[in-house]
């Protein structure tokens, strides 16, 4: 538990842009390492999918990473945090393994906390009281809108994303309305 929350805290700091030393990650695809957090910045090196990286800091949609050979900026979504390959054993598994667990189908207490299980959900009985509680916290769209204005949130025109985009080198006007 201690380890987990500590790591989460480090990650949170990292992801909010605070500079932290070396969280680890893995490249999810072949990437160019750039000198700055921008698609137009010069490429300083290439790294292939699966390369282990240390994550130094985040800036917007970019992470500054360090490989065994070089250092540079890659897109946030090109990196999977934690060590190991996708779905494979990560740093977390190493910690988790310490708490020896025999029956994976049961709700377990690796982190000292048990999660929801299917049986609980299946046998759940309708709760009018809790539903009333949910209703009582509801707000109107006008209230939400006034609140958003107060903190300076501005509605932005963002087109829907296509199902997938073949990754090409950035073109300046890929904002098409799919």
């Amino acid at each position: 538990m201690k380890h987990t929350s500590l790591r989460c805290m480090i990650l949170s700091m990292l992801l909010t842009g605070a500079s932290v030393h070396a969280a680890s990650g893995t490249l999810l695809r072949d990437e160019s390492l750039r000198t700055q957090a921008s698609a137009t910045a010069a490429v300083s090196a290439q790294a292939s999918k699966g390369t282990a990286v240390d994550i130094l800091t985040r800036q917007g949609g970019w992470l500054q990473v360090k490989t065994s050979k070089s250092q540079g900026w890659v897109r946030l979504l090109s990196v999977r945090t934690g060590s190991g390959g996708a779905g494979g054993a990560g740093l977390g598994d190493v910690l988790g393994a310490a708490t020896n667990q025999s029956n994976p189908s049961r709700v377990v207490a690796v982190a000292g906390v048990r999660g929801l299980n299917e049986e609980e959900l299946k046998t759940a009985k309708f709760s009018p009281e809790e539903l009333a509680r949910l209703e009582s916290s509801a707000v109107t769209r006008e209230q939400a809108s006034a609140n958003a204005n107060r903190v300076g949130l501005v509605v932005t025109n963002v087109p829907s994303l296509p199902k997938s985009q073949t990754r090409t080198e950035p073109t300046k006007s890929s904002w098409g309305d799919n």
């Binding site: 987990t4 988790g96 539903l131 509680r133 707000v139 939400a144 300076g152 829907s160 199902k163 073109t171």
Partner: protein, 304 residues
């Protein structure tokens, strides 16, 4: 095609013994007539054009309606809210709301603002934080969205909350759960008719969605999750938030121990975070390069 399905349904019923008192065949016929007289739309997907809604007093109407879910895939907005309310109430029977009114209100303010950018204004959006350390979030038709306290604790700022809520909002705007129900509802509608359990429209809906909040444990298909990721980040970005909120949360989840009990249901019902990040990366590419939304770390409501 639809007719063939109907015929198959009728013959199924006739084999089921039909322990009296329930003229299902007639209901089916009525339903067919009704649908034909309404010039039987080829694509019965427009929820707004669904026929009458039932009342608890009108059991046969409720039956016919339940069957229309199965046979014709029709849902009015009212049906959708009714179904969602039942699922939400059942889920809340398993996990209560966190007793923190300021938190609940805050999440509703953020959620409604994001939902306002989703294009669906015909349903009342409701957001709640569930009192469990389990790390998960849920959506039910008709505008019901829940995030667990466990997941909420993982969040670092309001943009991340907006991203998570955006993903759930997208499940509702894309009617992902209704599509699952549509697939299974014929069987359950027939099953309930045969067992004569239906006493009211609530019962019909309950029978339609299965036991308790089972549908939440069943999950959706992977494509629905990937789609909700793509839509969710866009909703959050439209609302003026930093678009990297949801990806950042997925990064956090990817770093959690695979065997952490708090994520077992989440990972059972969702693709691996790494796959989601990868797919999202493919879809986003450089499209968000010029966006600069707000993270609002200061304004983020911290639990306890």
């Amino acid at each position: 095609m639809k007719l063939k399905l109907l015929v198959a349904a009728i013959s199924l019923v006739s084999f089921s013994g039909m322990a009296g008192g329930f003229d299902l065949g007639k209901i089916l016929q009525d339903q067919l007539k009704k649908s034909q007289s309404k010039s039987a739309p080829a694509q019965p997907t427009d929820s707004a054009t669904s026929p009458q809604t039932s009342t608890p007093q009108n059991d046969k109407g409720a039956e016919a309606q339940a069957l229309s879910f199965g046979l014709f895939g029709k849902y009015s907005t009212e049906d959708e809210i009714h179904i969602g309310k039942q699922i939400a109430g059942n889920l809340l029977g398993a996990v209560p709301m966190v007793r923190d009114e300021a938190l609940q209100r805050y999440v509703n303010l953020v959620g409604n603002w994001v939902a306002a950018q989703s294009g669906r204004t015909d349903i009342p959006w409701r957001f709640g934080v569930l009192d469990t350390e389990d790390i998960n979030a849920f959506a039910a038709p008709g505008g019901y969205v829940f995030v667990t306290k466990g997941l909420y604790r993982q969040l670092a700022n309001e943009a991340e909350l907006a991203g998570v809520l955006g993903h759930e909002i997208a499940h509702i705007t894309k009617k992902h759960h209704l599509k699952v129900l549509k697939k299974s509802s014929l069987i359950s509608a027939l099953g309930q008719a045969a067992s004569k359990q239906a006493k009211s429209s609530d019962q019909v809906v309950q029978n339609l969605i299965g036991n308790g909040a089972e549908i939440m444990a069943r999950g959706l298909d992977k494509d629905a999750e990937f789609e909700a990721d793509r839509e969710g980040v866009v909703f959050a970005a439209r609302a003026g938030y930093d678009p990297w909120g949801l990806p950042a949360v997925l990064q956090d989840l990817a770093a959690l121990p695979a065997k952490d009990g708090r994520t077992s249901l989440l990972f059972k019902t969702h693709p691996q975070p790494a796959d989601r990040l990868s797919k999202l990366g493919d879809a986003i590419g450089d499209r968000f390069d010029k966006l600069s939304g707000k993270e609002l770390g200061d304004r983020f409501y911290r639990i306890r």
